[in-house]
Amino acid sequence: MRRADPVAVAKPLVFAAALLPAAWLMYRALIGHLGVNPVETIEHHTGDWALHFLLITLAVTPLRRLTGHGSIVRLRRMLGLFCFFYATLHFSAWLLFDHFFDVMEMARDIGKRPYVTVGFSAFVLLMPLALTSTNGMLKRLGGRRWKRLHSLVYVVGTLVILHYLWLVKKDTYYPVLYGVILVALLALRAPSLRRPRRDATARGGSGVAAQVTIGDQGTTARVHDPIVRHTQQLRIRL
């Protein structure tokens, strides 16, 4: 009997859960309970969840490393696309309610208001990531270039925190809190935190294989990721 693949089981559940914030907002809109300032509620709610999904997406790599459950990487694309989904709603609310498609005024806002500048830049930078998230695009770009392109997500994270920090009037509690979480998630990627096994081959649930060899020629690490369909080799000579 085949064992159930836990990630395959989790995927539709995570998908449904990720839609809940949007569903909740829709429900509140339908019963007229968006609060005293509904536009602000929509903008804050969608912005918050775009940020939450950005951080959740960035948490995948450290989680894999800390828990050894490499297979969760298969959820990452979906989580990243949900970040883009909420960011799109957030941007659309601004476009529609704050400016009603007044392109000139939007351009002025983007140019003049640093918090809008960085927020808009973050959204623009997310677009190529969403567009190249398919298997086809990954193949076309090649693993290495694809990875380099997708490291833009770190820039996006930084811009989003600045966006939040610069728009609050005085109480910076939440932007700073999210900033600390972002820094922590980035710090957990530091190479010094990687603990390769000596002459060992590690295999994650998704089939991610890492082989580290320590020999006369230096340390060689080979990581093969079947999702990215890419093998990366790193040689360090001491």
């Binding site: 609060g35 005293v36 300032n37 509904p38 536009v39 602000e40 309610f97 704050d98 009603f100 806002d109 003049k112 208001r113 640093p114 918090y115 610069w166 728009l167 009037k169 005085k170 109480d171 509690y173």
Partner: protein, 319 residues
């Protein structure tokens, strides 16, 4: 030789800080309870109820100062506002000001005037007839409301206390009481909140002290029991829960101005031509509407107040 050091006070005997901070309240509640019991015993009746938020105000005259615009729903004006003393989120004041005690309350008048002193709120209010003023309220954050205030002209109050010739400004101070005002337990602003007006602004007929809104006693979250309303300035100038008025010769401080001088000036007149450094002030969202509307110079009161600032550069210097 062994010198025995006395034990520190055991932690169980240390009064927790929130309890300590509310010690006076505890005392006065105990006294209240005692007095109430005594009154009940002596007369067999209940003590008269305190002045409560939401209580109908009687004898309120209509005023000619009333904008002909749709009123913001009471529910919106009382659940969505800024009063950082009770938290920085818009709904915080309505959630955390419920138990705020507005009686007994006293107002201290000091500085350059002939009749300084500390007055009970009742004495402070007694000489003034209440009237209703329907004003626009424009928040510096870009939203606005239309609120029917109940109050009296600040000019009448100023007259009573006979400011001297040196009095060029009035400074107002909000209550400082972290025990009752949870927002003051975090250093978000430099507590207590202070605001100020130039004497001619303070004496302007549009400027009022309010004790009510929508025909009722001011809800705690809206600045009970006594607040300022200056309709042509951004909302934060209209200081809430006032305990002190001080007449000064020098321009007094203003909390937001001290916090971020490049963002909030002392004058802070509503001015669509002077953007906040981080966001535009050209438009505003009237609560209840989806799309923004243009912001008016002096919040639509230019005819009445623009002359106060003749010859002043309101964009670069006196913003």
């Amino acid at each position: 030789m062994l010198i025995r050091r006395p034990h520190d006070i055991p932690s169980r005997e240390i009064t927790e800080r929130p309890v300590y901070l509310r010690r006076r309240e505890f005392l006065s509640r105990s006294i209240d309870a005692g007095l109430t019991a005594a009154a009940l015993g002596a007369f067999g009746i209940l003590a008269p109820p305190r002045v409560m938020a939401g209580e109908k105000l009687s004898g309120v005259a209509k005023s000619a100062f009333a904008v002909k615009e749709e009123l913001t729903p009471y529910e919106s004006a009382t659940t969505y506002n800024n009063f950082y003393e009770f938290g920085t989120a818009k709904e915080d004041p309505s959630l955390y000001a419920q138990d705020f005690k507005t009686r007994p309350w006293s107002v201290t008048v000091e500085g350059e005037c002939a009749r300084p002193g500390t007055y009970t709120l009742e004495d402070f209010l007694k000489p003034h007839a209440l009237e209703e003023r329907v004003y626009r309220l424009r928040c510096v954050e870009g939203w606005s409301m239309v609120i029917p205030w109940v109050g009296f002209p600040l000019a009448d109050v100023i007259e009573r206390f006979e400011p001297t010739g040196n009095a060029r400004y009035v400074e107002f101070t909000t209550l400082l009481d972290p025990g009752q005002m949870p927002g003051q337990r975090r250093p978000v602003l430099d507590w207590p909140y202070v605001e100020g007006l130039r004497m001619d602004e303070a004496r302007h007929p549009l400027t009022i002290l309010a004790v009510g809104m929508y025909g009722e006693v001011l809800p705690n979250q809206n600045g009970a029991p006594l607040r300022l309303v200056v309709p042509w300035k951004y909302g934060f100038k209209s200081i809430k829960s006032i305990v002190k008025l001080r007449f000064t010769e020098e321009q007094p401080g203003s909390t937001w101005n001290r916090t971020a001088p490049d963002e909030y000036g002392f004058y802070s007149n509503v001015n669509p031509g002077r953007d906040h450094p981080r966001w535009s002030q050209a438009k505003e969202r009237r609560i209840g509407e989806f799309f923004k509307r243009p912001t008016l110079p002096f919040n639509g009161y230019a005819d009445q107040v623009a002359s106060l600032y003749a010859g002043m550069d309101l964009v670069n210097t006196y913003f």
